[in-house]
């Protein structure tokens, strides 16, 4: 089977972790890593792994656009805007891991199929990827009036970008809880915990439904099923304790352990972003193959 050629823009923590995941993929070919610092650890790792590297940024890629059909953007919101302007006219697809939110929000188990034809899709936030599948699953059973998530991450796993603009996390996640999760009103809270050794990422979802839960067992099954689905592409994603259901309130306690590809295992928040982005890339690859064979 012909693999889809992918490029990663950004050779930092996220880009390098994603590279390791793409190299294992049966559907994607890790073609090129694009960075701006030839001495960065990420570009060295790429070179060592035999991946083509470009160290003069997006301009360098524009000289060899044949190297990739799909590009993962693991840079910054500002740089992403420029990348879209340059890559869209060339017919490239972009999976955006920055907080730019230019393309529509996507969550693999929830709404990806609807946006497969878009040229740019956005991966929301780590908290969004971890919780929106659960909110959506609850919404499929009964209408959710209000959904609130609390993401607690290890201080060490919050990079300078997140720290400098923490409002971006709460506001983007809250919006996606409504637009993708389907809750009438969404709210997101993020907490940084400096404990040593660093704690695994945890997410608590609290939903207030329009009415009392009618069939608690059915609700539980729906939640367990979606956790299993997400777990299929984020292996460290799991329920911490059983969901708590009381009246019209449903509480779900989640934990995300990273795979430890490039980032330490406690950084489940970063792992879920790269794992979900990989999944989006793979589904795009499957769809393109179908198109080629004319199904």
């Amino acid at each position: 089977m012909k693999k889809l050629k992918v490029g990663i823009i950004g050779s930092g923590n996220i880009g390098t972790d994603l590279m390791k995941k793409v190299m294992r993929s049966e559907l994607l070919h890790m073609s090129v890593v694009i960075g701006i610092d030839p001495d960065s650890d990420g570009l060295k790792k790429a070179k060592d792994a035999g991946v083509h590297t470009i160290s003069n940024g997006i301009e360098g890629f524009l000289e060899h656009p044949e190297l990739a059909d799909v590009l993962f953007d693991a840079t910054s919101a500002k740089a992403h805007t420029k990348h879209v302007e340059l890559l869209e006219p060339l017919g490239k697809k972009i999976i955006d891991l920055t907080p730019a939110a230019i393309g529509p929000f996507v969550v693999p188990t929830v709404n990806l199929e609807r946006h497969l034809n878009e040229s740019v899709v956005n991966m929301i936030t780590c908290g969004g990827q971890a919780t929106i599948p659960v909110i959506h699953a609850i919404q499929q059973v009964q209408n959710v009036e209000y959904a609130e998530i609390v993401a607690t991450i290890a201080s060490k796993s919050a990079g300078p970008g997140t720290r400098a603009n923490i409002d971006e996390f709460t506001q983007t996640t809250a919006r996606a809880i409504e637009e993708v999760g389907g809750a009438k009103k969404g709210k997101a809270i993020i907490i940084l915990n400096p404990a040593e050794p660093p704690m695994l990422m945890r997410d608590t979802v609290s939903c207030l439904l329009e009415e009392d839960v009618k069939e608690p067992d059915q609700m539980k099954t729906a939640i367990e099923q979606i956790v299993k689905d997400v777990n299929s592409y984020v292996p460290g994603y799991r329920l911490k304790i059983d969901p708590l259901i009381e009246g019209r309130e449903v509480k779900v306690f989640l934990e995300v352990e990273g795979l430890g590809d490039y980032l330490p295992v406690y950084a489940g928040n970063l792992d879920i972003m790269t794992a979900a982005a990989l999944k989006v890339g793979e589904i795009m690859a499957q769809q393109l193959q179908k198109k080629e064979v004319g199904i």
Binding site: D167, Q171, I191, L192, N193, P194, T204, K251
Partner: protein, 336 residues
């Protein structure tokens, strides 16, 4: 010794005590009386700051901003302050509070995470608000770390930095060490916020003043999370006896305390075994109510829950961990 600037926090920290059910009438009454007594700053916000109304911390009866508006109407010469925890509240919330008339904000982070406050402190300053950095759980980091983080807040433009003993866990020496180090190395005002879990709130506040702090938090009738804060009317009286000027009318504060005790306080604000344990184990004071509820729900001793939370190094805001911890402890009990 110069003047001490007091911030009355009963309408913010006390929000925990009433399960975030303050009414506009209560806010108006307390603000009006505190203002008449001469309190320079009065804080009015959900216990967990702007945007704190949530399933995680408790839903407010009244929208935060409406309470701020009500307070501003009767504030007289007092300045209305709001609390903002980045990660919970946002700059949008802050702008709304400003429009409602709040002119001071305290931007609070865990003691090791000051860098998340940069955008909020800078925005508040650019709007012309008096802006305070608030380092929560200051007991949990050594003095040098508190200093390094306080310096960050100062560099973002904060007018003052507070050492905040959110767990009510500090002893006199802990306060002295942190405040004096900050006093030595910062050029902005230094503040101190106490909780009375170890019955040391007034004593610690005095230690802070002696070490160089000039901004102190008090809550009338001790209305605050855990065993409450430094009791305003008591502190005002003690400072008066020491000849330290606060410009606050003692009798008016005592009258207000009597009113709060009779009309707002749901139960006597004394040091229960739960609130004592929080100071003893170094756990965020607003966990108390949640631990008591979880203890009833899962049949686990609330003291055991709080001690376990201390072991797990939970930080302020992690109320969801309380339910989970209690549930896990209950399961363990059954399986033994």
């Amino acid at each position: 010794m110069g003047k001490i600037l007091l911030t009355e926090v009963a309408l913010r920290d006390g929000s925990h005590v009433v399960g975030h059910q303050f009414t506009k009438e209560q806010v108006r009454y307390v603000v009006e009386q505190a203002s008449k007594a001469g309190v320079p700053y009065i804080e009015v916000t959900h216990g967990d700051g702007l945007g704190g109304s949530s399933l995680q911390y408790g839903l407010s009866k009244e929208y935060d901003i409406d309470l701020v508006k009500a307070a501003v109407e009767v504030a007289g010469d007092s300045i209305i302050s709001v609390l903002l925890l980045p990660g919970i509240g946002t700059i949008e919330d802050l702008k709304e509070a400003y429009q409602a008339g709040a002119r001071m904000v305290r931007v609070a982070t865990h003691v090791t995470e000051a860098d998340v406050s940069k955008q909020h402190i800078e925005t508040a300053k650019s709007m012309g608000m008096e802006t305070i950095g608030f380092l929560m759980m200051s007991h949990s980091a050594p003095p040098e770390v508190v200093l390094e983080q306080a310096k960050l807040m100062e560099s973002y433009g904060a007018d003052a930095v507070y050492v905040t003993d959110s767990a009510g866990a500090m002893l006199l020496g802990d306060v002295q060490a942190r405040i004096s180090l900050l006093k030595e190395h910062l050029s902005v005002d230094i503040g101190f916020h106490a909780h009375n879990n170890l019955s040391l709130a007034v004593a610690n506040s005095l230690a802070a003043i002696e070490a160089g702090a000039n901004r102190i938090d008090g809550s009338v009738c001790c209305l605050g999370a855990g065993a409450g804060n430094t009791q305003t009317e008591v502190l005002v009286g003690v400072l008066d006896r020491m000849g330290i000027d606060t410009n606050i009318d003692l009798y008016r504060m005592l009258d207000l305390a009597d009113y709060v005790r009779a009309n707002i306080l749901p139960a006597p604000q004394d040091i229960t075994s739960g609130s004592f344990i929080m100071g003893y184990a170094g756990v965020y004071s607003s966990f108390l109510r949640h631990a008591v509820i979880a203890s009833e729900k899962f049949g686990v001793d609330s003291r055991d829950i709080l001690i376990e939370l201390g072991k797990r190094n939970v930080v302020g805001g992690q109320e969801d961990t309380i339910i989970e911890t209690a549930q896990q402890m209950a399961e363990k009990k059954v399986s033994v």
